[in-house]
Subunit: 206 residues, 2 copies
DNA sequence: TTCGGATTGGACTGTCAAGTCCAGTCTGGT
DNA sequence: ACCAGACTGGACTTGACAGTCCAATCCGAA
């Protein structure tokens, strides 16, 4: 993250292994609950390697974890995320999110949301990285809605950016409540409400 | 929380002072970021007092903090929260939430939501307390919507509980995004969408 | 007044985590 | 083969934090 990344292929693999394991740990136990020793143990590396690849220590490692988790989250929603441009696609996406939560027994919530909640007040740099992740995520939704509007499925006065932001908020809030109550109902209700709101901008019929 | 609460009035005051300061600290720095020594220093108490009033240590103190923060959050929304039974009241509530965020420079998010995010996976007992707080909060909204339905302002097929849950999710997600982006726009958009969704169940006209 | 329990002060222990340091090993290019 | 720099192992330092312990003080009821 700070320009000191060039390295050999062995080094690249080691670094990736570290980030990957750290991402797992942070998702399971939070950033504060994951020590560098935990990461060390989980990867079979040594303290010096952690600081070799992340001279900035835990903060720099966490920055890499944010990037890693962001990619993971997006990948988990693909290919749906790239084509949210029809009512059917939106519904499939909704169902996918809910199915994943069910599969995880409603634990963990959104990896990005959890990190944001924990780290936003604590580290300005990480906060802006996480805001960036949210913005990118929102832009995927926005792109789909814009396509629907251009195609005439949404009214011209529908604002894709605003609708996408409202949908993101519903998603995050729904996931937080689902994680807290250990029930899929909040995420279901939240996404249904968000999509109903989008649908209220449907052109003409329905 | 465990039945060992009876004490003199001096003791009650001390205990309240501890919980109050702990609630402040947890809101500012998170549960993991607030040490018992911080609480001790902030209250001018001693270690033994902390364990005298909270034999269960930090966990028990955090349970008390959850209760305290829950009351604070509800109080901050009163009297609006008790009378969310008209379109005007809903709008006033929305404006109040947003004004508070602006006043806090978009920092901190929802105290309850933040604790839930941080502690839900970590401590089952705290998780259920936080779920309870959310449920109570939701019930305030539900009560108002039910009154509106009974009064004929909402259609009979509108489900107050579901609408309240969707509104809570939008609120929590909006606050998380506001805290992360340091902008009031997410909470504004999220609440507007949620209330628009409620309004889509308005009886007849409008 | 006097006594017992409530309350308080603060030193002390054990554990754990971040970060430093240096010596040793590997690797790729010449 | 050889060497500079990348990479690795692991001991060590420093500090923080949860939780323990015991002696001292306060206070209300008898």
């Amino acid at each position: 993250m700070d320009g000191n990344e060039p390295m050999t292929s062995r080094g690249r693999r080691t670094r990736a292994r570290i980030v990957d394991a750290a991402a797992d740990l942070v998702f399971e136990r939070g950033a504060a609950g994951s020590s560098l020793d935990d990461v060390r143990a989980a990867t079979g590396t040594s303290k010096s390697q952690l600081f070799h690849y992340f001279p900035g220590g835990k903060r720099e490692l966490l920055a890499a974890v944010v990037a890693c988790q962001t990619e993971r989250v997006f990948d988990a929603q693909r290919p749906a995320l790239d084509k949210l441009d029809s009512w059917a696609a939106l519904r499939r996406w909704r169902n996918g999110v809910i199915a994943l939560q069910r599969q995880l027994h409603c634990a963990g919530g959104c990896p990005i949301g959890s990190m944001a909640d924990e780290l936003a007040e604590h580290d300005p740099h990480l906060r802006s990285l996480l805001a960036e992740s949210f913005a990118t995520w929102q832009s995927y939704i926005e792109r789909g809605l814009a396509a629907m509007r251009d195609r005439g499925e949404l009214r011209r006065d529908a604002d894709p950016a605003t609708l996408a932001l409202a949908t993101m908020a519903a998603l995050q809030g729904g996931l937080l409540l689902t994680k807290t109550t250990r029930t899929t109902r909040p995420i279901e209700v939240a996404l249904d409400a968000a999509l109903a709101h989008v649908r209220s901008f449907a052109a003409s019929s329905r």
